[in-house]
């Protein structure tokens, strides 16, 4: 069982990239995890939002394998406390027997087709975070969850 984090668009801020990668690196040894950045859609300036969402959705769907268990990071998803989410994640990992893919979309949300493909939706907060910041927040939360699962003390460093 591996975890993939599928994100739309490159992280162009080097500080955010470094902080996010640091959490992913710390996860090594506890779980196989990789972040896959999909190229942003080009020439979006005069593109209707619905067209953009569909194009973004197509990219996301292409990057998914049929057996992937797909969890969208979505404000309207289910919310958990960190301990509760760690327990949920541990249960899933024990029973699924397939890779989990967490998808972080663009600024406009997911297309209908992506919602249909999804197995779960997870909300990190009812507030909207910039989609680049979400990567860092999610990486920290994943690291926190695996620290809880493995009984490792995680001092809020």
């Amino acid at each position: 069982m591996k975890i993939r984090i599928l994100v739309l668009g490159r992280t162009n801020n080097p500080h955010l990239r470094l902080l996010t990668n640091d959490y992913l690196k710390r996860l090594t040894g506890m779980v196989g995890v990789e972040m896959q950045e999909l190229d942003d859609i080009k020439n979006t300036q005069n593109m209707p939002v619905e067209v953009r969402k569909r194009k973004e959705g197509d990219k996301i769907l292409q990057a998914l394998r049929p057996k992937d268990y797909v969890i969208l990071l979505d404000e309207k998803g289910k919310s958990f406390g960190s301990e509760q989410w760690a327990a949920h994640l541990a249960r899933k990992m024990n029973h699924l027997g397939r890779d989990m893919v967490f998808v972080i979309g663009g600024a406009y949300g997911f297309s209908g087709q992506v919602y249909e493909r999804a197995d779960e939706r997870l909300s990190l907060s009812p507030m909207t975070f910039s989609h680049q910041l979400v990567r860092l927040v999610f990486a920290e939360q994943l690291y926190r969850a695996f620290s809880i699962i493995h009984g490792k003390p995680y001092h809020n460093a």
Copy 2:
């Protein structure tokens, strides 16, 4: 009306510091905002958690002025969507006529005395974020709120 963000402990990660300061800088012109870092409590290794919380609480209380309107960032606080929080913030600013102080505590939460002094509690997420990461997330959220209040487009940069 000014906004102060009172945090316990120095941000020792230069990348987090830079990203957080960037949002605070972008707020200039929309609102007077400053972050005040209180020194960590020393020699905490064998200190009971309750003693530590009380000492941290004393530091926080000392840094508050009698007229300050105090909002604790607390997992058990009230949660809002970003738009909803911006509206709440705008209402408060129009009516309070005094400075707002947002307090980000240490890893163990606030002492009873700090809770008693508080006027509000705000939750950014039911999940626990590292208390250093909370600073960045909150700074982004404050910037987002003021962008909403001032009708500025905020592209999820």
